[in-house]
Symmetry: C2
Subunit: 424 residues, 2 copies
């Protein structure tokens, strides 16, 4: 097992171990945000028949030869065709049909003249021009034809994709499975949210944060509760987690825990790949995996992330390593948070050897983003993360980022780019 | 009723009519993405007691006066305190306690020396320095104290907020209600997704798109199906919708429809505020509202949007007017899509008098975004919307946007800013 990887090394290592999950069929209306598994091929034409693109009149062009503003041609309205309706008979010479947007073109008609280019008179209509061939006619299959690949595998399903699926009559769609994520925590000092916190006990808040971090990306978290600092308790909990795609354990803060977790994982057949990433917060991160189909029942080769116990460390390591992993599992290709280039608001200092993720807020100033560290950077102070727009990347070997220096910020807030005003 | 408003006028009019919805209490873990209704005030201290910020030794500073690397002081380890544990007795003079991160500080201890600054020897420990007063001690309530306002009303609940709520023992939280949105469509030519499309009938795909557009922002859509082109059918459907916060109707494309909708709405007591917005796609948009508590049972004063029937027009008008309205109802303040300043990829032309929303893809070129129109801009061609990154705003009175000109693009794709690589 390697120890003390750099952030990029850890990321690559995990990426190399990450499987993409198989497909399931879900109702198209429930597929929002999911990733398409196979191409969607149309079995329909849209529009289903030649139809009118305008409210107006379906005509036979030959009847309007020579028509002009000063030379209108008057024709008889034989019938009307509504959208969803159907022409009762072919258009005879000298006849036109009143037609509405989306309505099928009558047989023998070869163009549509829009209402504005006509004048109603008595029992007929005057036409002020001769249309081009098939003017204002939408051809059958113009939008989508039979056999067209309408959506490609890998596409993320948004509302417009759901609309297109509906128009093709597809009520089911094959998408990548959601990643099932077992969430575990451990430590004698931990209680659930409704537990008694007297005597120095604290709420296992990490479980709730991590649960929500999974939900926020459409993964399927399963919260397995708190194990106690005894090997049998830890083992029982991990056994319950073995059928997940990914196990995310956040340790209590006592040192003893880690040892139990490690020995239990080894007993269950997990290969620990590395321990420790040169970052702050979040150094004590462990990563391992079960082989697919191994004896302990890790059927799908669950990945295992042992996150640190400190709330900020747990949340930040989830962001850096677990979130992109789960997105990749679920078929996404854009798995990373957006980054911005910013200016450092106040000089930052640290020792070399660890990459720091500094919790910051961003302020726009003269067309540039300026980053200010939130108050406490203690890894126990979760409140500082609620106040942050993102994490400033203070590189591994750097010891100072002077005021005004350029730096990279990873945006954590999904709503960061949303605006208070429309902008036009 | 006014007719033919400009986009910004319509937006302001609607904004002035939009109520912010009241509160409901939901499980904190289910509150992701919701907007906090009232301040969250802490009834706890975090940390709950003075505790250690490091693995090391709790000491009485006075015992270590004069300690240095060449002058170590050796002291006896009296006991150990784990996180969640508790010191059995106060620290006596000349004694230290082994202590772990998060563990409560024993009585009489006044600092922590971290493990790295000590050397274990036989039954004792050598200290190589005297700590500062309260060094490596986290004070009780340092992160959060009793009475602190931890989260402000209006804050959007993200995973870190859920973690903070958990640590405070809050399993319920008061948030703005989800907007209940009744979705209706009408037209004799429409069928549901599993319906028979022979004879020129088409799927009411708008309903599915609009349903997903509501879901995507956390609103609560209720799909009421398709009404037929008869007044009693339209009335029955609108009556079923009266208890919603917002009614979104998308007409079929036949002209007769609109008249039924308008007369039914008037009969039910809806005040139609305006009809027609100078935009393309999407001119035939209607907006109205029921008065709160009126005789027809519009209890909460439902807003009514009558959207055009063409798929792209329906989706684009939802984006421009319904989406920000629903977000505002649910307590959000950043209700608008992000916009980017871009360069026009190919010269665009139109007539003056309507603002055009041009479906475009964006390409990065020399550090700038360049917008290219997607193939068809027909308002029937929904596929072009699936291919678009956003909508380019071609202003009302402009007739040309030359290649290379600056323009504003509204980003529609929630995943647009996500990245394939981490970026650091």
């Amino acid at each position: 097992m390697r120890q003390g990887l750099n952030v990029a090394e850890a990321r690559e290592w995990i990426e190399g171990a990450t499987p993409v999950l198989s497909a399931e069929r879900v109702g198209a209306s429930e597929a929002l945000g999911r990733v398409l598994f196979e191409p969607v091929v149309s079995t329909r034409r849209i529009p289903p028949a030649d139809c009118s693109a305008m409210d107006g009149y379906a005509v036979r062009r030959a009847d309007l030869a020579g028509a002009g503003p000063d030379d209108p041609v008057e024709l008889r309205v034989a019938y009307e065709v509504a959208a969803g309706g159907r022409a009762l008979q072919a258009l005879a010479r000298g006849e036109v049909a009143r037609i509405f947007t989306g309505a099928p073109l009558p047989e023998a008609a070869d163009a549509v003249v829009k209402q504005e280019d006509t004048r109603e008179v008595g029992g007929g209509v005057r036409f002020l021009c001769q249309p081009e061939p098939r003017e204002h006619v939408r051809d059958a299959g113009e939008d989508i034809d039979v056999g067209d690949v309408v959506l490609d595998p890998g596409c993320v399903i948004r509302p417009s994709e759901i609309g297109v699926l509906a128009s093709l009559g597809r009520s089911l769609v094959a998408v990548h499975r959601r990643a099932r994520v077992a969430i575990l925590s451990g430590g004698d000092e931990l209680v659930e949210v409704d537990g008694d916190v007297s005597g120095g006990r604290i709420v296992s808040s990490n479980s709730y944060t991590l649960f929500a971090q999974c939900r926020a990306i459409g993964a399927d978290p399963i919260y397995l509760g708190i194990s106690r600092d005894r090997p049998e308790s830890v083992e029982q909990q991990f056994r319950a987690a073995l059928h997940a795609d990914c196990i995310v354990s956040s340790a209590g803060v006592s040192v003893g825990d880690h040892d139990h977790v490690r020995s239990v994982l080894e007993k269950l057949g997990c290969r620990l790949e590395f321990w420790g990433v040169n970052m702050k917060p979040g150094y004590p991160l462990a990563f391992g995996r079960f082989e697919a189909g191994d004896s302990a029942g890790g059927l799908c080769g669950a990945l295992v992330f042992g996150l640190p116990g400190n709330p900020v460390s747990a949340s930040v390591t989830f962001e850096q390593f677990v979130r992109p992993t789960l997105l990749r599992m679920m078929g996404h290709t854009r798995c990373f948070r957006p980054t911005l280039q910013v200016r450092v608001g106040e000089t930052l200092r640290k020792k070399a050897g660890r990459l720091h993720f500094v919790r910051i807020t961003l302020e726009e100033q003269d067309g540039e983003w300026v980053a200010h560290a939130t108050g406490s950077q203690s890894s126990g102070v979760m409140r500082s993360l609620t106040q942050a727009d993102g994490l400033l990347v203070f590189p591994l070997e750097a010891t100072e980022l002077a005021e005004g220096a350029r730096a990279t910020v990873q945006i954590l807030d999904d709503g960061f780019f949303a605006a208070e005003r429309a902008g036009f």
